[in-house]
């Protein structure tokens, strides 16, 4: 990258992307999860409505990105998946294929990698309802919604078009050629679902500001009969056009050029790891630096430590442990 090149100048945005005190929600592909610790470390308010209980700090963390985002939706790769999540949360879409029973686990096809999956049908219903409520809370209470568009390729249900985050049978479940199909969303479909999502989001949160980004992570594989490089360029091109269309058609929707900063010809070689797929830490830091320069800042905010995870209950559990230990000793001595 040439010394005179300033990544912050790639963004042409009116007004701050995020203002001090704004509640921020993010969603999208794995690149979107990378943003969260930077936002929190910089002192912005990352709104979390699920997986916040201190119990989760004492056990192995939830798999993949389920506990990294505002609610436990995990990675959302396609705009169709994002639109579908909001419609499900609002009770406006109920997938035909809503649960996979595998051994003693009730798997959510739309969150197939959950470590802490339901163990009964009733628990599945209760957890799914609670999750979708948490989605509504996050989406309706945020001031800023950041979405990273990740993929155009997806796997859908032939019954009702429900979009799965991964091909059934890969993370969980079983692939059934009579029920599941590959679909590569075209530019009209991606744009339509993105615009429909923004419109629906504004029904429950009229003043929300939306920031769109495109993931710079290339596809690891393609289900199209072509080279993965060709599929990557197609996919990113479609996503970029859809994002631009959404910005041009909606006030309060901005595009932040993280994709361009990392993939453009000015980008240094080390913006990707040696595998030439994973984005390097220095690239993410460059992007976040440019991003924060477009946000409202105060000197005191810069570099602020990440807020501590609230652990409210240690006194109660320490007391009960001490008490039970004492009673066990008393009982043992009484024998």
């Amino acid at each position: 990258m040439h010394e005179s090149f300033d990544p912050a100048q790639v963004a042409t945005i009116d007004g701050p992307l995020i203002r001090l005190g704004d509640k921020v929600v993010t969603a999208g592909s794995c690149f979107a999860a990378n943003l969260v610790p930077y936002l929190e470390k910089a002192g912005f308010t990352y709104l979390r409505t699920e997986y916040t209980h201190p119990l989760y700090t004492k056990i192995p963390p939830e798999n993949l990105s389920y506990a990294k985002f505002s609610a436990g939706y995990g990675n959302i790769y396609t705009t169709a998946q994002l639109q579908q999540l909001l419609l499900r949360a609002l009770g406006e879409f109920e997938p035909v294929e809503r649960v996979w029973c595998v051994d003693d686990r009730y798997i959510d096809p739309f969150r197939p990698g959950l470590r802490y999956a339901a163990r009964s049908a009733r628990e599945f219903d209760a957890l799914t309802t609670a999750h979708l409520r948490a989605v509504v809370r996050a989406f309706s209470e945020c001031d800023v919604f950041i979405f990273t568009l990740g993929l155009t390729e997806g796997w859908v249900s032939k019954a009702d078009g429900a979009v799965f985050p991964a091909c059934p049978g890969t993370v969980a479940g079983e692939f059934d050629a009579t029920a599941h199909a590959f679909h590569n969303f075209n530019v009209e479909e991606v744009t339509e679902s993105l615009l429909a999502f923004i419109a629906k989001l504004r029904e429950i949160n009229p003043s929300v500001r939306v920031i769109l980004t495109v993931s710079p992570v290339p596809l690891v594989a393609t289900a199209e009969n072509q080279h993965v490089l060709a599929s990557t360029v197609y996919s990113k091109s479609v996503l970029r056009v859809a994002a631009e269309t959404a910005v041009r058609r909606n006030a309060g929707v901005e595009y932040f050029p993280s994709y361009e900063i990392i993939t453009g010809p000015q980008a240094p070689k080390d913006f990707y790891e040696a595998d030439r797929r994973n984005v390097s830490a220095s690239a993410v830091e460059t992007v976040m630096s440019a991003f924060f320069s477009a946000c409202e800042r105060s000197d005191g905010l810069k570099g602020a430590a990440a807020p501590e995870v609230p652990v409210i209950a240690p006194a109660a559990s320490a007391l009960s442990t001490a008490l039970v230990d004492f009673e066990c000793e008393e009982a043992a001595q009484a024998r």
Binding site: P54, A117, R122, E123, L323, D325, C328
Partner: protein, 232 residues
């Protein structure tokens, strides 16, 4: 239990007179010297039926007092128990992940015993007491706890118990973990006797020991009678 000789502070096996001929127990000081305790049990296990009561109180050790924020969960083996939808819902699998490590420790001990014993029985713990007023009284009368609360700057009147239904669900979850642990090493899980429970599944008041977490000798007698059925 009544042992046939006075306890000299060492970890050893001794006959338990109150349970008849041929019944032995491991005597040890507290806190238990774990290796010596299990070595003594193993030493006496050859060709005998061995009953193990261990790790059954962790649900109360972790959650007797109301967690903040409050949570609830669906107990998979008792899915019809009411669910408090006004508090945070935690997956039962996460609850099990919290409780299980405390029971998993006993697994290699049971496994070692199962290799030499005629039979290994893993005793389920008594269900929780459902009478909050009773356990509150015990707590207020317990000098150890009063002093502990005082030194922790916690006012006794501010101490809140977990809802009794949550305690019951936690106990059910723990019993399932204990049963699976036993079955995983070829031991037999002996569940809490039904006669010791109320209709709702809590410990019957007749079997309350005068403390927060334990059952009394009458309940113990039921457990012993139950064990005999598994041995005979």
């Amino acid at each position: 239990m009544n042992v046939t000789r006075s306890f000299d502070g060492s970890t050893t096996i001794a006959p338990i007179a109150s349970h008849g001929d041929g019944v032995l127990g491991v005597l040890s000081p507290w806190p238990r010297p774990l290796e010596a305790f299990w070595a003594a049990a193993l030493e006496g296990a050859k060709d005998r039926a061995v009953a193990v009561s261990y790790g059954g109180n962790i649900h109360l050790a972790r959650f007797l007092f109301a967690p903040q924020p409050m949570f609830d969960f669906v107990a998979s083996e008792h899915p019809d128990l009411p669910l408090d939808e006004s508090v945070e819902l935690i997956p039962e699998a996460a609850i099990r992940a919290e409780l299980a490590p405390h029971v998993i420790n006993v697994r290699p001990r049971l496994e070692a015993l199962a290799k030499v014993a005629a039979k290994v029985l893993y005793i389920g713990s008594p269900p929780p007491k459902g009478d909050d007023e009773f356990i509150a009284k015990c707590l207020r009368a317990e000098k150890f706890f009063v002093n502990l609360a005082k030194s922790s700057n916690i006012a006794l009147e501010d101490v809140r118990f977990s809802p009794r239904l949550l305690r019951l669900k936690l106990w059910h979850a723990l019993q399932a973990i204990m049963r699976e642990t036993a079955e995983g090493v070829g031991a037999t899980f002996v569940p809490a006797p039904e006669a010791g429970k109320t209709d709702e599944g809590y410990l019957h008041a007749d079997y309350y020991a005068v403390d927060v977490s334990h059952a009394n000798k009458l309940y113990g007698a039921q457990v012993v009678a139950n064990l005999r059925r598994y041995v005979d």
